[in-house]
């Protein structure tokens, strides 16, 4: 039987030590009335058969299409070293570092992750990560609610709609008021948000670049929030953050991000990485694991989980969150990715992604009837308006192996003709040229 090493002889020896006749005797407390009514699972397959079956299923997925999909999740190049190092069994098959002396590898890696992420976001403290960017946004919101003891949350409609729907589900039972300030043709309505901040506002939530790809400076907005003692929360895009004005420079209290773009494959939705950082003042509200540097009894440097008084295993029902792990291996991947590319490598990936997106925007808007939806600066993603329904164009082009972008009408009622187009350093000039030609043809 796979993965069970005991021989029949060993089983007999073990049963003799226990003092029972059969393995079945060990299950005597599960009486007849509690036994399975059915257990209709197919019998096991060999390793070779399982791999063949799964290869067959993988082949039903068309991964050779050229894709301009982004919408918060991007196909950046992952250096080979990321897989090679993070697949080491010592990292891969360990668990939460409960015994720090036997887990210095994981702990130091998390400390280095915290350092790299804080430098990228220009913030004081980071946790060891949470599940994904949406969860990070929800947890950040709850930090603000606890800190301010207020219950009104102000969000921009230009925030990733996935974060907004996740926030809605999580707070159903928590008696919070969410006020959503509409976007303006894809721009974050900074003046509208400023006007909506009042003495009951716990937090203001924005994103940079926003869902439409538009790049902003939220310094004034965060100043306005500070005047009303509300917490400023920003979601950023880690790869572009190597270039863009930082959450720290803008004066954010909490900065979060979906970390997928740092070395994690798209993998049909996960596992991803929820990045959370904050100012030193907010750190005791932070959920999840945090690693700190210390010394051992011989004075050698070492690392431990710290500030654990916030956590569920100490605080039980009074904890800051029920989160008791992190996406440790994903955080490790993000760290190795940042190290393998280095400062200049990440900046290059960001710059080339932006350059390709601008080339793509130029070519697409040269087609009669295609216009920029959102004006102003953008990064590696931009929103355009088509003369026809975007869903139909996507359907037509995807049949020819090109997925031209994400239909904004999926989340925004009045934007059925809106298309969100993303490029990365992997998008070639040739692909952009073909996309433009196909689009021109389809719109004739």
């Amino acid at each position: 039987m796979p993965f069970v090493p005991h021989t029949p002889e060993e089983v007999r020896e073990m049963l003799a030590v226990i003092g029972v006749d059969s393995v079945d005797d060990l299950f005597a407390e599960i009486t007849e009335s509690m036994r399975p009514q059915s257990f209709d699972i197919p019998e096991g397959l060999s390793e070779m058969e399982v791999l063949a079956k799964l290869e067959g299923m993988a082949a039903k997925n068309a991964t050779d299409s050229a894709s301009f999909l982004g919408a918060g999740f991007y196909d950046h190049y992952i250096p080979a070293a990321v897989d090679a190092l993070t697949m080491r069994g010592e990292f891969y098959t360990a668990y939460t570092p409960y015994q720090p002396e036997a887990s210095q590898g994981t702990l130091q890696a998390i400390f280095e992750y915290q350092t790299a992420i804080c430098r990228l976001m220009d913030m004081d403290c980071a946790n060891a990560s949470v599940y994904d960017g949406g969860t990070a946004m929800y947890e950040a919101t709850m930090m603000a609610v606890r800190k301010t003891k207020r219950r009104k949350v102000l969000i921009s409609e230009a925030l990733n709609p996935i974060y907004r729907v996740m926030l809605d589900s999580y707070i159903t039972n928590l008696n919070l008021e969410v006020v959503c300030v509409p976007h303006k043709n894809g721009r974050t309505d900074i003046e509208g948000l400023k006007a909506a901040i009042d003495d009951k506002t716990a937090a203001v939530l924005v994103q940079n670049p926003n869902f439409f790809g538009s790049v902003n400076d939220f310094t004034e907005l965060f100043n306005a929030a500070r005047e009303k003692k509300a917490v400023s929360i920003i979601s950023s895009y880690p790869v572009l953050q190597a270039l863009l004005k930082t959450p720290g420079q803008m004066g954010a209290d909490i900065a979060v991000a979906e970390g997928q773009s740092l070395g994690l494959p798209l993998s049909f939705g996960g596992p991803y990485l929820g990045i959370m950082t904050c100012t030193k003042k907010m750190v005791r509200q932070m959920p999840g694991r945090i690693v700190g540097r210390t010394e051992d009894t011989e004075g050698r440097t070492g690392y431990v989980l710290t500030l654990q008084a916030r956590e569920q295993h100490i605080r039980r029902q009074k904890a800051t969150s029920n989160i008791c792990s992190n996406q440790s291996l994903c955080a490790l991947r993000a760290l190795v990715h940042m190290c393998a590319l280095g400062e200049m490598g990440i900046r290059r990936a960001a710059r080339l992604s932006i350059e390709r997106a601008h080339l793509c925007a130029e070519k697409l808007t040269a087609i009669p009837g295609v216009e920029m939806l959102t004006d102003g600066p953008f990064g590696n993603e931009f929103a355009i308006t088509l003369p026809v329904n975007a869903f139909e164009i996507i359907s037509t082009l995807s049949e020819r192996g090109f997925i031209p972008g994400f239909p904004l009408g999926r989340y925004y009622d009045d934007l059925d003709n809106g298309l969100l187009v993303a490029c990365t350093e992997k998008t070639s000039e040739e692909q952009i040229g073909i996309l433009a030609e196909m689009m021109r043809g389809a719109l004739k």
Partner: protein, 483 residues
């Protein structure tokens, strides 16, 4: 060991992902950061050597026996990594099936979701599953949200959730975060007594969260009575799947009356723990709770095509950005296919056999507070050793010196100086024997030379670490510290 930042040399080139940049920045200067971030600049070999060395400062299942109770640190078969790395899965953008006409581009992935749900339904006897929760604690939160939605929809006024003191540690926080008041009940003789439940049960109870077998490794044999009592007040019974490895093929939680269950695929179904994630915490429900499951759900059409289905007006909404940790449950799916019906039951049988064998072999050297047939794990107490000034923590550290990861210690809270040992079915008898011999030797050493144990570990890269200094010093990054 130096950090990667301490090894960084400005100007040293890493891996360039691309060449041929133009000089134009496209974004106005006032929207750009005013200085570089300070990420490492290191050569590829520097990076490879650094992380290889770091990995060597870690225990993992691949290198060490890891009997961490309630965490099911079983062997993670290598073939599942081959599946996890198949480009046909890793390259799939998650919004694909949400695009008109593009669902056909990801039929294989949707089939994986559908088939995994079907298998989990049959293994646990539930009506339907969502694979969206991304960890066990996330499954708990989703489960309690489902409980709230069920009662809200029925117009029930429910404010409390019961959590036994022998339940999994995250349960109280999950219930509280979903907006419930947590009511604790004490176990009696190691399990839940119907009388104790009767004392706290009233119409305001939304449900009870139960770990079975519980964290003492004991089967909750009063289960049928407990189910009946909860039904009387329309309270839902929740199964924390942390310990499912003890009952596969022997009992299905759906058959015995649980309404909501979360599983830990990284425990029972052998996906790697990854140093603390990513996990996967699917939630299964009975028929009456099914309408509230998160969206989207995968539906199989009559023509065999798979589509996403959002038409569930009573759904609690979204708990994940997409469909959960696909890359994780893909491996669990492969593992279930590999083991099959007999293999799954055999895993449970041998997990329970190994735990009982170790329990018997350790019963002379240690106090075992509930020394009767256990399931897949058991709890020792170091109270006798504590009389000599050696605590469970010290014994845990001494085990590290012998090359074993320590058991879970000081949990459950109801046993003093406790050590929770879960061997799993994948460890051979020689490994179990070595661990037992080493633990008995440590117990002997406590009598003869307790200081050696109190000073352990001495063979690892560091000795015991100063946690107070860490909390006070607040050195949380290279750049932050309390002066």
């Amino acid at each position: 060991m130096k950090t990667i930042f301490e090894q960084s040399v400005p100007g040293r080139e890493g891996c360039w992902p691309c060449e041929g940049l133009s000089e134009e920045t496209f974004i106005p200067k006032e929207l750009l950061r005013n200085e570089e971030a300070g990420l490492p600049s290191a050569g590829e070999l520097d990076v490879v050597r650094h992380f290889t060395k770091l990995s060597q400062r870690n225990f993992g299942v691949d290198g060490n026996f890891y009997p961490l109770g309630s965490c099911t640190m079983k062997y993670n078969p290598k073939f599942t990594e081959v599946v996890g790395a198949m480009p046909g899965f890793t390259r799939l953008h998650p919004v694909l099936p949400q695009l008109q006409g593009a669902g056909r581009l990801c039929q294989g992935a949707l089939e994986v979701i559908y088939e995994t749900e079907q298998l989990l339904c049959e293994i646990t006897g539930m009506n339907a599953y969502t694979l969206h929760p991304m960890a066990g604690a996330h499954g708990e939160l989703t489960g309690v949200m489902l409980m709230a939605a069920y009662h809200r929809d029925k117009g029930n006024k429910k404010t409390k959730v019961i959590v036994p003191d022998s339940a999994h540690g995250t349960n109280p926080a999950s219930a509280a975060i979903a907006g419930f008041e947590v009511v604790s009940i004490e176990s009696r003789d190691g399990i839940i007594a119907p009388e104790a439940l009767r004392e706290v049960l009233d119409d305001e109870v939304a449900g009870m969260m139960m770990t079975c077998p519980n964290t003492l490794g004991l089967f909750e044999k009063n289960l049928p009575e407990i189910v009946a009592m909860l039904r009387e007040v329309d309270a839902l019974l929740y199964y924390d799947g942390a310990n499912l490895n003890a009952i596969m093929g022997k009992m299905r939680v759906g058959d015995v009356g649980f309404d909501i269950v979360h599983l830990n695929l990284h425990k029972t179904f052998a996906t790697p723990h990854g140093g603390g994630g990513p996990g996967s915490g699917p939630v299964g429900v009975s028929e009456r709770v099914t309408p509230y499951l998160p969206v989207s759900r995968v539906q199989k059409l009559e023509d065999g095509q798979f589509v996403l289905d959002y038409d569930h007006p009573k759904s609690i909404g979204y708990v994940a950005p997409f469909y959960g940790n696909f890359g994780v449950f893909l491996k669990a799916y492969s593992y279930i296919l590999r083991l099959g019906k007999t293999g799954l039951a055999r895993a449970t049988e041998n997990a329970v056999l190994s735990a009982n064998y170790m329990r018997k072999r350790l019963e002379d050297a240690f106090e075992i507070p509930y020394n009767r047939t256990c399931m897949h794990e058991f709890v020792l107490s170091a109270v006798r050793q504590a009389e000599k000034g050696v605590r469970a923590l010290d014994i845990a550290k001494a085990l590290l010196d012998k090359g074993h990861h320590a058991p879970t210690i000081y949990f459950p809270l109801i046993v003093k100086e406790c050590m929770m040992i879960e061997p799993t079915e994948t460890e051979n008898k020689a490994t179990l024997d070595t661990f037992v011999d080493d633990l008995v030797a440590i117990a002997d050493m406590v009598q003869s030379d307790p200081e050696v144990i109190q000073n352990a570990p001495v063979t690892l890269p560091v000795t015991r670490l100063d946690e107070t200094k860490a909390a006070r010093g607040m050195e949380l990054t290279e750049d932050l510290a309390n002066a």
